[in-house]
């Protein structure tokens, strides 16, 4: 019967209760959507980072990671490459020569990371061939091909088939360099990456370095991200002298972004909870105040404090919780809709792309988040119920009844 009383009491002041219920509903809806949007945005970023930059796993000599010196070559890199290529878990793999140097056009020059790749393998792993705006991907058919990004081309005033000068140190520390011809211009969407990276054929780079089998880096893409830890452990065990890193280690900002999903849930959630707590407390205090006489009467005839407390808590919980499932459901519908159709960030894309963010966001949300939000609302309502309930049991029946 306490439940009945609590339930009916909520509808005594319809408008007031509807305001709270509506706020919870809208809040939960917005929260669900925001969380999903945020998550998709970040996952998109992470996927992009894995795709174009880090892959799942990278293998280097530890010294190379410390200090990107040309001399820190992978020992037997080609052999390791061949054996990992055959692994069941491998989706794609690439062997690279990587070094820092200068790129010089007739108009400008700048420092750059030069990566020598094996085109057919590299295509599979970074899919840069899909991001080509003009020209083609490297193919090794001619000597000294180079691929630059659109941004860098603009900056250096480069065009397709134009020549550009690369300078760097060879394995003996001697300065060397050569003229390369632009065969392709690409755009990944990540401006920072685009401005600091160029691609050439590993064959050409190794010849200039004076070491045909030179390699610094193996990038590995797995069929299943879930296998990351297992594969990483296995390679580490087999090659204790090498540094095996996963994408989170390679790119700490990716790890940060992954944590960011949790952090933003916490931040949005806390703001929402605080607003809700004040709203609910306010409404319930009014309700308790209005019912002073009634509550006094109940205590006079024999309703003890625990029961009065329980009645107000129950009423508060009901009030707080009614809107939540509806809000979650609307959130689910919205997320599903945008999961299907995507949200076009059109107008903002210019800014977003600079940070490597995709411009069409397809939302998705894991079921955990629904549970967390539901639980959060429950906790919020519980916290909000404490003060009004205490107010209620502090009433002195004589005083409440005197006012009759």
């Amino acid at each position: 019967m306490l439940f009945q009383i609590a339930w009916r009491n909520i509808w005594r002041s319809k408008l007031r209760s509807m305001i709270v219920i509506g706020s919870v509903l809208l809040g939960v809806w917005a929260l669900t959507f925001l969380m999903s949007f945020n998550r998709s945005l970040i996952n998109g970023y992470i996927d992009d980072a894995i795709r174009y930059q880090t892959s799942h796993i990278q293998i280097h000599l530890p010294e190379f990671v410390e200090d990107r010196e040309v001399a820190f070559l992978l020992p037997d890199g080609e052999k390791l490459f061949e054996s990992l290529k055959e692994e069941e878990t491998t989706a794609a793999i690439s062997l690279r020569t990587s070094l820092s140097g200068m790129i010089k056009s007739p108009r400008a020059a700048q420092g750059i990371t030069i990566t020598g790749v094996m085109p057919s393998y590299e295509k599979e792993i970074t899919r840069l061939d899909e991001k080509i705006l003009e020209g083609t991907f490297l193919d090794g058919s001619k000597r000294n091909q180079i691929m630059v990004s659109q941004k860098l081309a603009e900056k250096l005033k480069l065009k397709l088939r134009k020549k550009v000068q690369l300078q760097f140190q060879d394995v003996n520390g001697e300065f060397t360099g050569a003229t390369f011809r632009v065969v392709g211009i690409y755009k990944t969407g990540n401006t920072v990456f685009d401005l600091s990276n160029i691609l050439v054929n590993r064959k050409d780079l190794n010849r200039l370095l004076g070491k045909k089998d030179a390699s610094h880096e193996i990038a590995l893409l797995l069929k299943d991200k879930q296998q990351l830890d297992v594969v990483k452990q296995k390679i580490t065990a087999d090659h204790p002298n090498l540094l095996i890193e996963d994408y989170k280690e390679i790119s700490p900002d990716v790890k940060l972004y992954e944590q960011q999903i949790g952090v933003s849930l916490a931040i949005f959630g806390t703001i929402f909870m605080l607003a809700l707590i004040f709203g609910i407390i306010n409404t319930m205090l009014m309700a308790v105040l209005e019912r002073n006489r009634e509550i006094g009467m109940l205590m006079a005839v024999g309703m003890n404090k625990l029961r009065v407390f329980g009645m107000i808590v129950m009423e508060t919980l009901l009030l707080g919780m009614i809107g939540a499932p509806i809000g979650l459901f609307l959130g689910f519908l919205t997320v599903s809709y945008f999961g299907e159709h995507g949200i076009n960030l059109g107008a903002f894309a210019e800014g977003a792309e600079r940070f490597g963010i995709q411009t069409v966001i397809k939302t998705d949300l894991d079921t955990n988040v629904y549970l967390i939000i539901m639980f959060g609302v429950l906790i919020t309502a519980l916290i909000a119920s404490i003060y009004p309930s205490f107010k209620a049991i502090k009433l002195k029946p004589v005083e409440a009844i005197r006012k009759i």
Binding site: M1, A300, V301, G302, N304
Partner: protein, 228 residues
């Protein structure tokens, strides 16, 4: 044996600021089955006395013994439980829970007493029938007249099987027909069930129905008369 025994009760409000001596040494014994009116001019201390008897307020000095138990030493929460089991209350107004029907209001006190559902529904129906509201079981208080609401309150008070029922000016808000009806009903419960009633009133017609009339003046008992 007296079910209510109060000895030398004094009650002073605001003892530190402007003291109001509401009761100045009241002794009273009420036996089972009595039908007692507490009367007196406004401000004479009727409500104060009933509140103290009902354990809603505590005296400044003196002793209250209900059913042989000294209740002045009970904690707040124990006092609530004591009231639930031993005392029925009828107030001047706002006796009922507005969101419950007449039947549920009567049942409610038995819910607090943890009676099982079937037993309490039966008893609630029985009592509402006895107070003449058999056709109003499903009505909410707002759909009942003042007199009908007070009858529900009496039924609720009876439902808990208390030792006695306290009613502070139960007819104050009622017209004369409803007043007579309520009094008839209370008298019937008193005669047929032997229920003890203690009520305060200003109303001469109500005073005339009482079998014992205790008159308070200025916080003291001025007279205590049995009418046949």
């Amino acid at each position: 044996m007296a079910i209510i025994e109060i000895n030398n009760i004094e009650k002073t409000y605001n003892p530190s600021k402007v003291p109001v001596h509401a009761l100045r040494g009241v002794d009273l014994q009420i036996k089972k089955g009595e039908f007692t009116a507490i009367v007196g001019p406004s401000g004479s201390g009727k409500t104060t006395l009933l509140n103290i008897i009902g354990g809603l307020d505590s005296p400044t000095t003196g002793q209250i013994i209900i059913n042989g138990q000294d209740i002045s030493k009970l904690s707040d929460n124990n006092m609530i439980d004591f009231r639930k089991e031993n005392i029925g209350f009828v107030f001047q107004a706002y006796n009922l829970i507005p969101v419950l029907t007449a039947l549920e209001n009567v049942e409610f006190i038995m819910v607090l007493q943890k009676k099982d559902k079937k037993a309490r529904q039966e008893r609630a129906k029985e009592l509402l029938t006895a107070v003449g509201l058999a056709d109003k079981l499903d009505k909410r208080p707002s759909e009942l007249s003042g007199g009908q609401q007070q009858r529900v309150a009496v039924a609720r008070a009876l439902a808990s099987k208390p030792a006695f029922i306290l009613a502070d000016e139960p007819t104050a808000n009622l017209d004369s027909t409803s007043t007579a009806g309520l009094l008839d009903m209370m008298a019937k419960m008193n005669e047929e069930e032997g229920m003890t009633f203690v009520f305060s009133t200003h109303d001469q017609r109500v005073i005339d129905r009482a079998r014992r009339v205790v008159t308070l003046v200025d916080g003291k008992i001025e007279s205590d008369i049995y009418n046949g």
